[in-house]
Point group: C2
């Protein structure tokens, strides 16, 4: 862990000025050919690495941008990051990935850190806690700096910024419509945590679809989960013990749907014959489990790409704080075995 070699060190060694070394290493034309070669060779030998920190200071820019997400352990989130990186990496930007673990405190801490590290933009998928408590003071300084802020996946209407989200509403609607069309009458919903936009939009799609098809919205058929597979177990068991058992379950995501399927099987019912199951995310595994899972696909990668493009167009009027762009990408129902077969 020895000190990095600096341009000054090299200059001292060669009894020349730091300017000369700098120009030599940057192939500046006004440097003598021999000098250039000697300096470059020596720099290479001692493993000189230009100090980017000093450059960032000098240029007052960093070519780095912050990405704050609740979790990375998940197909969808990492697809978003890939999408952002795919657009921004070729342009020389570096991503600064921060994982909040759904905690407001960490989110706030990371915002401060990113601002203080002078990132040139922030992509934010707000944590569950932030949503729950609804306080957005940590974004104030982002506003004061007028730094490009783009909400990804989870939007927050209270703060005027660009956003790229999924049409959860229509995705959910399509899923439930599919269940209705295949003859299901009592469709339960394993809902996410109350208050979150994803959760509520999907719920809305579910509720509205039932309404349009004249089916009742029954409270006993709607139970909260927290997106994790385990959180579906108890609620599903509860559903199966109802006097009027559901004949379909719409899970807020694939994890929950998979958890539900497990319980259904364990209780001796069949999927899809007795109970159809539909998830949300179209995670890679959903096509390979048995029965394969019908699911609503979200174009995670595309979200990231669109968000990156908003960032790149930021100086444009359209993307500005007073009139932010909101992109809503469609989701797509992918029908598989877990909901197959028409019922009469």
């Amino acid at each position: 862990m020895n000190k990095p070699v600096t341009i000054k060190d090299i200059a001292r060694k060669f009894r020349c000025s730091p300017s000369t070394v700098s120009r030599a290493l940057n192939n500046h034309p006004s440097i003598n050919e021999d000098t250039r070669r000697n300096l470059q060779e020596y720099a290479q030998k001692v493993g000189y690495q230009r100090n980017q920190v000093s450059l960032n200071l000098l240029n007052t820019k960093t070519a780095s941008i912050g990405v704050i997400v609740p979790t990375i352990n998940n197909y969808y989130e990492s697809a978003i990051i890939e999408g952002i990186d795919g657009v921004l990496h070729p342009l020389g930007y570096t991503l600064n990935i921060c994982v909040t673990n759904e905690q407001y405190l960490l989110e706030s801490e990371y915002i401060t850190k990113l601002l203080s590290n002078r990132v040139e933009g922030i992509f934010l998928s707000v944590s569950q806690e932030t949503y729950d408590f609804g306080h957005y003071e940590h974004l104030e300084n982002v506003g004061k700096r007028n730094l490009p802020l783009i909400f990804i996946d989870r939007d927050y209407e209270g703060f005027s910024a660009g956003s790229v989200t999924i049409d959860d509403y229509h995705g959910a609607f399509a899923a439930v419509q599919h269940l209705v069309n295949t003859g299901r009458k009592r469709i339960a919903h394993l809902k996410g945590p109350n208050g979150m936009a994803v959760t509520e939009q999907r719920f809305k799609g579910y509720a509205e679809c039932l309404r349009q098809y004249g089916l009742p919205l029954e409270e006993s058929l709607i139970i909260n989960t927290n997106f994790k597979v385990e959180s579906a177990l108890e609620p599903t068991a509860q559903l199966l013990e109802l006097d009027q058992r559901p004949d379909a379950i719409f899970g807020v995501n694939d994890q929950v749907a998979i958890g539900a399927m497990k319980v259904i099987r364990e209780k001796g019912w069949r999927v899809p014959e007795d109970i159809a199951v539909v998830g949300f995310d179209n995670s890679p595994i959903s096509a390979y489990i048995s029965p394969s899972l019908t699911s609503v696909g979200r174009p995670g990668r595309q979200i990231g790409e669109e968000a990156a493009r908003i960032f790149l167009n930021y100086p444009d009027a359209a993307a500005k704080r007073d009139n932010p762009v909101h992109i809503v990408l469609p989701s797509q129902l992918i029908i598989r075995d877990s909901s197959a077969g028409i019922r009469r």
Copy 2:
């Protein structure tokens, strides 16, 4: 996107020196109470954020460390990152997560970037390409700087550095032993890409176990995959068309095992009655699919934690370049339905 307020701006506004502003904002005792309050209030109002870049330069340290992984879209990798962060975040370190997507070029580029950004340590899980081509020139400058480098998950013997890995060998051995003990005679292996340590260690465990139990090692029963679920489909189909069909399949990871199960079902065979299946990773989903998947668990989080501890102890002799620490954590077989039932 307006310029950040600096300490100089504030000083100009208040007709005082930058030193005074700096001290006031840092609650230095020698600052007049009124001055302090005024300056702090103003700084707060205009959203002043100290410029960490300049501080990093001044102190020639950054309290940030690089983490280079092939992918983050995966339970295991993200558990490792969580582990590292869990230990290092409370101490004020910031992680700089880089995803190589298994490409040597990106890995090399990130190493350079991290060095040049003056990170204080690097955690590296080498990419598949790096492994394949076996060139480690990109690590030379890390060596010259004598910067703490810790291999996580995938070790490379050619470069003297600390490492934390999994005992893949014994994990694989245990998995195959379990299959043998439950009466399986023709155990196939869906191997990973040749040359990678994980792949080869697991293969070794498989091969050695067969040898110890007097079972032949048949080439036709060993086929390569690339860890992804799709990559198991064709190889499994191939296995099922053999004259002497296998009665068990040991997959290099859960994804591959799940892919294999799908094909087995589609061809009309039963798991585990006709063919037992065992995976590797104990990914969260493995307990919830049907049949639930027997798998070898890897303590990802613990890997990250141990690696972080090596980093923290780096000045110690034990962790130094000339005598690096190598920690090998045990893996653990978790038996589920996909391999249940004894056969005679």
